[in-house]
């Protein structure tokens, strides 16, 4: 099923024409309306007329999270405040919050892209969509909400948390599609099991999960535990919110809606664009946004682009599942480690529950990595040697994948904090 077949299957040549035309409009808009963008272009002796082909995109300067913070709150808005109908903001835990604004037209486009996404998950006017993403300044809740309304589904705007009530309403309201973070979906699945609710009492068919990196193994786990189809959606508030890209049934990457965004992959160190197939940092340029356009925004997410044709019929380029966010990446003894790599090892081994916590410390000049994982009924034994064997097996597998040694520590079930939103996977006790 496609929400907008003509656009989702537009021939690539036409996509590129559309992108160039929209890129030129966007560059015009920011050059004339946003002093910060104009100044950066002038430093490079660029005017909007210099953007004559899509290749010229790489001449434009990057935009970083710090640029957004420096412009707090409205410095990068490209529409007058009378046209801004909504703002969202990220938490300002490490500095000023980053604030983004939307015009009426921006909200319409966002709803359209979320409608495309939800349609892939099987959404229709008959669906009951339970939105357990947080509502508020975070884009997750309202982003999915408007898309679900556009599809014409029945929306249950429950927001995150209150797990038992989530499950009760899931039963009572006949929820067919669940939207939340994958870590919260796992917590819901565990709780459903604990409450011993028979699967027949749930109408659940699909889950739309995103807002944090998760692995293919976690997808299998959620599909098995909840007996649903799990769809990965990607987005970030700086670029729009959820709905920048999404899985299709072929599951070989997430289609980026290229009529609204141009993706690039760059080497995060040299900042040079990389060809399709090479992993690097994802960079987005928005094409239709009026309130808060972004030019070459560095996401710090690691992915790979694939522009070969997809069996689903969509012509839009695909990005691989996010391998990690450079923010989440921890460097241990000089080795880059992404928490999602640990998730994939644990699920492949299947010995423990897929809940884990990395605790990093420094003893003298040496970084230490402790991986806490929860014991499960199926691997538990009355013999110490068997449990130590499990610890060693996980340790060995982690070392061969990560290239860094760790100490695995088994902890009691449910002792690792469950998240109702984005999971916390790392405690870094080093004072660097």
């Amino acid at each position: 099923m496609m929400w907008n077949r003509p656009m989702e299957t537009l021939p690539r040549e036409q996509i590129k024409q559309l992108q160039l035309q929209r890129l030129q409009q966007t560059v015009e808009r920011v050059y004339h309306n946003v002093p910060a963008y104009r100044q950066k272009m002038q430093e490079r002796h660029l005017t909007p007329q210099d953007i004559r082909s899509l290749e010229d995109l790489r001449r434009l300067p990057f935009t970083t999270k710090q640029d957004l913070r420096d412009a707090y709150p409205y410095g990068l808005f490209a529409a007058p405040m009378k046209d801004i109908v909504r703002v969202h903001a990220s938490s300002g835990t490490t500095g000023n919050a980053t604030v983004v604004g939307y015009t009426r037209s921006d909200l319409n486009h966002w709803s359209e892209l979320m409608a495309r996404t939800l349609t892939i998950a099987g959404a229709s006017p008959e669906s009951v969509i339970q939105i357990a993403y947080g509502y508020g300044l975070f884009t997750g809740g309202l982003g999915v909400h408007y898309g679900a309304e556009k599809v014409g589904a029945t929306v249950v705007p429950i927001s995150g948390g209150n797990t038992k009530r989530q499950i009760k309403l899931m039963q009572d309201f006949g929820t067919t599609i669940l939207a939340c973070t994958p870590s919260y979906a796992l917590f819901l699945a565990e709780t459903i099991q604990e409450m011993q609710i028979p699967r027949e009492q749930l109408q659940l068919k699909a889950g739309v999960f995103g807002a944090e990196p998760w692995t293919e193994e976690m997808r299998k786990e959620l599909e098995y535990r909840l007996q649903i189809m799990a769809i990965d959606i990607y987005g970030l508030s700086e670029v729009m919110g959820p709905g920048v890209s999404t899985d299709c049934h072929v599951r070989q990457g997430l289609h980026i809606f290229e009529d609204h965004f141009i993706p690039e992959i760059i080497d995060p160190i040299t900042e040079e664009p990389l060809p399709p197939g090479e992993p690097g940092e994802l960079v987005f340029t928005s094409l239709t946004k009026e309130g808060f356009p972004v030019i070459r925004y560095r996401t710090r997410d690691i992915s790979v682009l694939d522009d070969t044709p997809c069996a689903c019929g969509r012509t839009h380029v695909r990005m691989s599942k996010i391998r990690g966010r450079t923010d989440d990446m921890v460097i241990i003894r000089g080795v880059n480690v992404f928490p999602s790599q640990i998730e994939s090892v644990l699920l492949q081994l299947g010995l423990t529950e897929p809940h884990y916590l990395l605790v990093i410390d420094r003893v003298g000049t040496m970084d230490t990595l402790e991986v806490r994982v929860e014991v499960s009924e199926k691997m538990f034994s009355d013999k110490v040697a068997n449990l130590e064997q499990v610890e060693r097996t996980i340790q060995r597998e982690l070392e061969s994948l990560l290239g860094v040694s760790s100490r695995v520590r088994l902890v009691e079930p449910k002792s690792i904090e469950r998240s109702e939103g984005k999971a916390k996977r790392v405690i870094d006790n080093r004072r660097l």
Binding site: V375, V384, E412
Partner: protein, 143 residues
């Protein structure tokens, strides 16, 4: 002739054992014998109780990771050489002991020994053929 032992995973942090024993106490379950095997990170608590199946359920519901294992219970005289006699029988039958723990019972001058062995059925036969009394589950739970 087998005795059900409950094993429970315990993280090495304060209050876990208190929580566990309280959980059993609330259900009026009596502990007959216990031992703890520990590493630096965690311990395995092994318990013989009067109502093992119920204890297993109660602990699971309280969120503990537990399992049931078949072990052997033997009553031996509480005097020098009491345990040696049994060890000899099992050694001759080439049966490895994974672990054991004992509980003296002063008024009768006997001791209860709990064995976890590799081949439970063979071990029971070997002990019985040597004239050693192997206790039934009910006998152990009701001690």
């Amino acid at each position: 002739m087998k005795v059900k032992q409950i094993s429970v995973f315990l993280e090495n942090k304060s209050g876990r054992l208190a929580m566990l024993t309280k959980t059993l106490a609330q259900k009026n379950i009596n502990i007959r014998a216990l031992s703890i095997a520990d590493t630096t990170d965690f311990g395995i608590l092994r318990l013989i109780v009067d109502r093992p199946d119920e204890a297993y359920q109660v602990l699971k519901e309280a969120g503990f990771t537990a399992s049931e294992t078949n072990v052997i219970g033997v009553q031996i005289p509480d005097c020098p050489g009491g345990l040696a006699q049994i060890m000899e029988v099992l050694a001759e039958a080439h049966i490895n002991i994974e672990y054991l723990y004992a509980l003296p019972e002063k008024p009768v001058d006997q001791a209860l020994v709990i064995f976890r062995v590799e081949r439970v059925d063979d071990a029971i036969i070997a002990l019985q053929e040597a004239g050693i009394t192997v206790l039934s589950g009910e006998e152990v739970y009701g001690l």
